[in-house]
């Protein structure tokens, strides 16, 4: 059933968040990569033979459905972003945040070249 897909997703999501928040508690900060861990668990789970052979198509549809509605969710997220706040911060905020994106974006091809050597 489709709901199983949603339920499994909630399972890995909570498991990842538990790890993220526990790590955060240990280091005295909020959440350290809870969503990242959850994604890793989902990848590990869905790459098993059990998932491929035994799990029904309908259950998989449940997971795919959430993956598909994530695009409108991102649009809704942008709809509530603080665009005015970005301008209100003035030049200091604009340069600090803007250059941080721009400079590091330019670094991406150099670092990803090393990633390829790793294999």
């Amino acid at each position: 059933m489709e709901i199983y897909g949603l339920a499994i997703l909630t399972g890995v999501f909570l498991l990842g968040e538990i790890i993220g928040y526990s790590l955060g508690k240990l280091l005295n900060v909020g959440d350290v990569g809870g969503v990242g861990f959850a994604m890793l668990f989902l990848v590990l789970l869905t790459n098993t033979r059990y998932w491929n052979d035994k799990v029904s198509e309908k259950t998989k549809t449940g997971v795919k459905f959430v993956g598909a509605i994530y695009v409108p969710i991102i649009v809704a997220m942008v709809l509530q972003s603080n665009i005015i706040g970005a301008f209100r911060g003035g030049l200091v905020a604009f340069l600090a945040g803007g250059l941080a994106v721009f400079v590091l974006l330019l670094l991406t091809p150099f670092l990803s070249r090393f990633a390829k050597i790793e294999k």
């Binding site: 890793l40 997220m77 709809l79 509530q80 200091v92 905020a93 600090a96």
Partner: protein, 255 residues
């Protein structure tokens, strides 16, 4: 008029469901804008995002608050659809179909890029703060932290006791970063050869701001989203860990 009153009551009561219609409409309009104005040279999502930014800016001007359209009572449901709960749940789901081998290949470099991303953003923020004549080292460090993400900034500022002005600036810097990431990643992505899982993982580590990275990658190439998102979600935690401790102490020792 009674019909308008009923309508208002219904959409505030059914906020989340109503927001499906709003986002659906924006998406529908975007396909036509893409088809007839941009002659399919752009993509629907990018245009939907730009329209959403414009609406959010207008709403922000109208309400004077920080949550864009979600602060307008009639459209509060958008806050539910685009809020952290559904966003994180759906980002996890995008990992469906990602390949273990690809993640392994990019793993080490993703960790390194996370460190470079946090430290690099911090240094850039600190330099800008100094250039603009800010002298208090706590305020300087807070703005540096704000250049990481809009969460790292206030967390750092509050833990080291920076001024409220500096904390507000750090939030603004983080928001600028998220918005510019949404715009710059699709714009420069092809030129910077962000076209495979490993480069997306590196990008996620370098830029870090989850909302900006995910929205930017969706516009560039949705297949890369899981890889970029996976590293980006570690960034804020790492920033909250490093900025108020190691990075602040080093900054104070130097200045």
């Amino acid at each position: 008029m009674w019909l308008i009153d009923i309508f208002k009551e219904l959409v505030t009561k059914n906020g989340l469901v109503w927001s499906f219609l709003i986002v659906g409409l924006i998406y529908y309009i975007s396909t036509y804008v893409n088809k007839y104005i941009f002659r399919e040279k752009s993509n629907t999502f990018t245009i939907a995002m730009i329209i959403a930014m414009i609406i959010s800016a207008i709403a922000g001007l109208y309400t004077g608050k920080s949550k864009g359209l979600a602060d307008v009572k009639l459209f509060a449901g958008v806050g539910l659809l685009g809020g952290a709960m559904l966003r994180d749940y759906a980002i996890v789901a995008t990992a469906y179909g990602a390949k273990i081998e690809e993640i392994k290949k990019g793993g080490l470099m993703a960790v390194i890029s996370l460190l470079i991303g946090v430290v690099g953003s911090y240094i850039i923020g600190v330099i800008i703060a100094i250039l603009f004549g800010i002298t208090d080292v706590k305020d300087i460090a807070t703005i540096g932290a704000g250049a990481c993400t809009f969460i790292v900034g206030p967390v750092t500022g509050e833990s080291i006791g920076a001024s409220s002005e500096a904390i507000a600036l750090s939030v603004a810097a983080g928001v600028v970063k998220a918005v510019l990431a949404m715009i710059l990643i699709p714009l420069l992505g092809n030129a910077l050869k962000i076209n495979n899982p490993q480069s997306a993982m590196v990008l996620g580590g370098l830029i870090g701001t989850t909302s900006g990275t995910v929205a930017g990658l969706t516009a560039l190439n949705p297949a890369l989203v899981p890889y970029g998102a996976m590293t980006a979600t570690f960034y804020t935690g790492l920033g909250c860990l490093l900025a108020p401790s190691v990075l602040f102490l080093i900054t104070r020792a130097i200045l």
